[in-house]
């Protein structure tokens, strides 16, 4: 008797510990969610600061990073606390990112500073000090701005420095004079050779094979100097060409006595061109207006340069041209024809560039103007084959320092302008004018005209490709923290989100001017307002604060670890704080899924039975606020306070869905049932055979064994849309493999219809859904309750493939009837 009492006490004590353990795991999960929410808010604030609407300083950047560091550290701690230190490497990952962020804040160049070469695929404005404006401009044009530009890689400032140092050490710089360096004596350091060769292989892999290359030297930063010497080289001669280019770097530095200046080399695909030229901002005294000056010359005859003047706003009309007379046998542009024969026998009027091509060049320049805050000097080439402009160089002019604003008469500029709409949120400040085009998710981005203004109902992420071509974007719904807003800021496209009635008031085809900072749309092209862009208060890549913020965000915002099922989803692949947060979030959910395994004896002492109107024994363990405080040893459904549990029970107990009659079992079913494997139902909890729900106010973890199948439902429903999720797993059945597979297919189809991401392996169905409003999740949980009741023992009845569709239709019909009953009741 004493022994029995002792055993009971021990069991009771162990059980109490288990309950505390489960509660502790759940508390850590909740903590991760709270930390996650705050970290994402903070990241959004930092990202929004790029949009130009906020005034911030270094103190903001420092305090934001400091708080973010603390939050991420606590996330790593909490995940390890709930998983028995399974993710200890997360601390190293956090420490690495933290060190990078602190280095950037302290004025460092970040982890790429020591790289000898960098591919264009990772370059951005913030890395300009490492690779020069030439490389960054080409990379940005190609990757971010969707403009035609060659792919390639940079030999970085560090690579150039290594070359100079090694040659000084080797004595190949005779008497220390860098300008005496001759290529045959120079040594390309082994590390640099290896880096160049590696980059070349990667470039060829990206381009689908070897290609002719161009090697160019960049010296100086903001001094108007850029490419010096353009040489087309065969890939086999690349190392030699790079050595020549680096020698040229040394000469340029020595000539300018700027030993520590910014020198870099660009290695990119060669562009086979028939015409080359430039486009830049100019002032026409004759017309008293700022215009775009385009020059063009045959690639093999640079002395035969022609000049064109265009309006500097969309649609960039041609104002004036200086066309060089051509020989009678000179080809004209496709579709063009000589106008008249001059007295000297030459043709006049055969311009090298047709109007559409001029417009294309102006559009390229306008995109860079939007990015940089001023019209750069852009060098282009016309590809021989496609006759398209290709960006060859961008030489940024220093952006406005704001002093021009004193002369900007904004009130006068707007005196005659008609305001059509005001409101919404500015997601990216800026002023743009153009033609309105109404856009939906189903439209083809390729058909959207460059320089037009997007008007759309919802700020959907699927519209991102349109932004690369748009002058501005206006949406009726959406906020400044969504994905599309992030892309608009990334591309610096002026945007107003949440502007009511925009589509109704402003039809496709109308010309308007959008002032996103003022959240105002004016009728027509308001030239005087566009002229005020020069007095902009925006942040630009040329501002150090912009560069620092963007550099910081590079290690904070991008989310690359997306698929938790992928083998890439690991601690070691967490490159940013966002990756780390997402990893911890997914793994914390996984830990919760096994919560029933952790609390082994909970069922015996802490579980209370819930009295349901269906023949089901279900035991409930309350982690806190899931069941009414005054409830007794048996719980009634109206005492359930857990939001997800209440929703699920509503569906489960539905009269329409619960199959009360036992399924008809044939002898064949019995034999195949005895024979089948239960391998899929791995690691059943110790309280196998009983159904348990572990609940809290916004949480439910449910393990159900109905007949011979086992289903798990894990869900959290809070006020934060981003944290809501439902995980549903269903496996097993009594019938033969075919019938079980049919039931799995039925469940898959119904889950997919409910927007679940579903995977099926044999009779195992796994469905996940996340990021949804609480109300939508509640509706889904009711459906899952109904589905659980409906599919119970259904495998036995599924004798043919056709029954999958038939039963799906029956379920939908019953669900509809159930809904109408609810509606009627509510009404």
């Amino acid at each position: 008797m004493r022994l029995g009492l002792l055993r009971f006490k021990r069991k009771r004590s162990a059980s109490a510990q288990d309950l505390e353990l489960v509660r502790s795991i759940f508390a850590k999960f909740r903590r991760i969610q709270k930390l996650n929410t705050r970290a994402l808010e903070l990241m959004a604030e930092m990202e929004q600061a790029l949009g130009g609407e906020y005034i911030f300083d270094r103190a903001f950047l420092e305090s934001s990073v400091r708080e973010l560091n603390t939050l991420i550290h606590q996330v790593a701690y909490s995940l390890n606390a709930m998983s028995r230190n399974r993710y200890i490497d997360l601390f190293d990952c956090y420490q690495n990112i933290r060190s990078v962020l602190e280095d950037i804040l302290a004025g460092g160049a970040g982890p790429f500073a020591s790289h000898l070469t960098l591919p264009y695929t990772i370059l951005g404005w913030e890395l300009e000090p490492l690779v020069g404006a030439l490389n960054v401009g080409l990379a940005e044009a190609r990757l971010r701005l969707d403009l035609p530009a060659p792919d390639g890689f940079a030999i970085t400032v560090a690579g150039c420095r290594l070359f100079l140092q090694e040659n000084e050490r080797a004595g190949t710089l005779s008497g220390g004079e860098r300008n005496d360096l001759s290529p045959p004596e120079a040594v390309l350091p082994a590390a640099l050779q290896a880096a160049i060769t590696g980059e070349l292989e990667s470039l060829f892999a990206r381009r689908g094979g070897p290609t002719a290359l161009t090697v160019r030297v960049y010296t100086g930063r903001g001094h108007g100097e850029s490419a010096v010497g353009i040489n087309e080289v065969h890939p086999d001669d690349l190392l030699s060409a790079c050595k020549d280019a680096l020698c040229e770097c040394a000469r340029q530095l020595a000539d300018r006595q700027r030993m520590d200046g910014c020198v870099a080399v660009a290695v990119h695909e060669a562009v086979a061109a028939d015409l080359v030229g430039s486009i830049a901002d100019t002032y026409s005294a004759e017309l008293s207006a700022r215009l775009l000056r385009v020059t063009a010359a045959p690639a093999d005859a640079p002395q035969r340069t022609e000049e064109y003047l265009l309006r500097n706003i969309y649609p960039f009309d041609l104002v004036h041209s200086e066309v060089v007379p051509k020989a009678c046998d000179a080809p004209v542009f496709p579709g063009g024809s000589p106008l008249l024969k001059a007295t000297n026998g030459l043709y006049r009027g055969s311009a090298l560039l047709e109007p559409d091509f001029l417009k294309s060049i102006a559009e390229c320049a306008a995109v860079f103007e939007r990015m940089l805050g001023c019209m750069p000097e852009l060098h282009w080439a016309r590809s021989k084959e496609e006759h398209q402009p290709v960006v060859l160089d961008i030489r940024p002019i220093t952006a406005s320092d704001g002093t021009a604003a004193a002369g900007c008469k904004m009130e006068e500029a707007l005196a005659a302008a008609e305001v059509m709409l005001q409101g919404g949120q500015a997601v990216q400040t800026g002023i743009a004018a153009g033609c309105v085009v109404h856009v939906t998710d189903h439209d083809d981005p390729e058909s959207f005209p460059h320089g037009a203004i997007i008007f759309t109902r919802v700020a959907s992420p699927t519209l991102s490709p349109f932004l690369r071509r748009a002058a501005a974007i206006v949406t009726e719904l959406g906020t400044s923290i969504g994905h599309l807003a992030t892309i608009a800021r990334e591309l610096r496209v002026p945007g107003i989100f949440g502007m009511a009635n925009a589509l109704e008031r402003i039809p496709t085809g109308m010309e308007v001017t959008v002032d996103a900072g003022e959240r105002t749309i004016y009728r027509g092209i308001v030239g005087s307002l566009l002229a005020c862009r020069e007095c902009s208060t925006d942040l630009y890549p040329t501002d150090p604060e912009y560069a620092i913020l963007r550099h910081l965000l590079r290690w904070i915002m991008p989310l690359r670890l997306i698929d938790p099922e992928s083998s890439e989803f690991s601690v070691h692949n967490c490159r940013t704080y966002h990756d780390l947060l997402h990893f911890a979030h997914e793994r914390s959910i996984e830990e919760l899924l096994h919560i029933q395994d952790r609390g082994r004896d909970l069922a015996h002492l802490h579980a209370r039975k819930i009295d349901l109107p269906i023949p089901l024994d279900l035991f409930v363990i309350d982690l806190g606020d899931g069941i009414a405080a005054q409830s007794g040893t048996t719980i009634s459904p109206d005492e359930v306070r857990s939001v997800p549990f209440a929703a699920f029970l509503r569906g489960l107990a539905s009269d329409e869905m619960w199959q009360r009659s036992p399924g008809s079992i044939s002898m064949r079913d019995i034999f195949t049932g005895l024979d089948r494997t239960f391998a899929a139902m791995t690691n059943p909890p110790e309280y196998a055979g009983r159904n348990h729900a572990i609940v809290a106010e916004n949480y439910m973890n449910l393990g159900l064994r109905l007949g011979y199948h086992f289903s798990v439902l894990d869900t959290y429903l809070g006020n934060s849309v981003n944290q809501n999720y439902i995980y549903f797993r269903f496996v097993g059945g009594f019938a033969d493999e075919k019938r079980r597979r049919r039931r799995a297919e039925l469940i898959r189809s119904i889950l997919a219809d409910l927007r679940f991401k579903v995977t099926v392996k044999g009779d195992l169905v796994v469905g996940k859904i996340k990021i949804a409003e609480q109300q939508e999740m509640i509706t889904i949980l009711v459906r899952l309750g109904e589905l659980t009741g409906f599919t119970r023992q259904l495998d036995i009845a599924m004798a043919s493939e056709a029954q999958v569709a038939e039963l799906e239709a029956v379920f939908r019909d019953k669900a509809t009837r159930d809904n109408s009953g609810e509606d009627g009741h509510d009404g």
Partner: protein, 136 residues
């Protein structure tokens, strides 16, 4: 809302604003914003120069950061109110606490704005102030 005010001799002139922030980016972005809205603006990134300017000239509105090297914003606020009691001071700071806010208001600040802030917020504050003064 007009950015002009009526001076004592009955003439209309632009509202004059002094901005002090040791972070150049703040001055660089605030100056054109106020100029475009029709105000006359002088910006300073060192507090000693701003203090010297205050001693020379009365500004209708002074916008100052709090935490800076040398003379801090609180000192500029105090001195401004000493010599130009009818000038209005707006405090902007990245280190906002209830104590510094309380102290600022106690010393006569018109408003206290925590960084980061929206450009439209500070423009609205100044418009509000100009409007209140013109009615008063």
């Amino acid at each position: 809302m007009s950015a002009t005010i009526q001076s004592d001799n009955g003439e209309t002139r632009k509202t004059q604003i002094l901005i002090l922030d040791d972070e150049p980016i703040v001055c660089k972005r605030l100056r054109p914003a106020f100029q475009k809205a029709g105000y006359e603006v002088e910006t300073f990134t060192d507090s000693a120069s701003a203090m010297a300017r205050i001693e020379q000239k009365r500004f209708d509105i002074v916008i100052t950061d709090l935490k800076m090297q040398g003379t801090d914003g609180m000192r500029l606020l105090t001195r401004t109110k000493e010599i130009w009691p009818d000038s209005n001071v707006i405090v902007i700071t990245g280190f906002a606490t209830s104590e510094t806010a309380k102290e600022s208001f106690h010393k006569g600040a018109f408003d206290f704005i925590a960084k980061p802030f929206k450009l439209s917020d500070i423009l609205d504050t100044v418009r509000r102030l100009v409007s209140a003064n013109s009615k008063g």
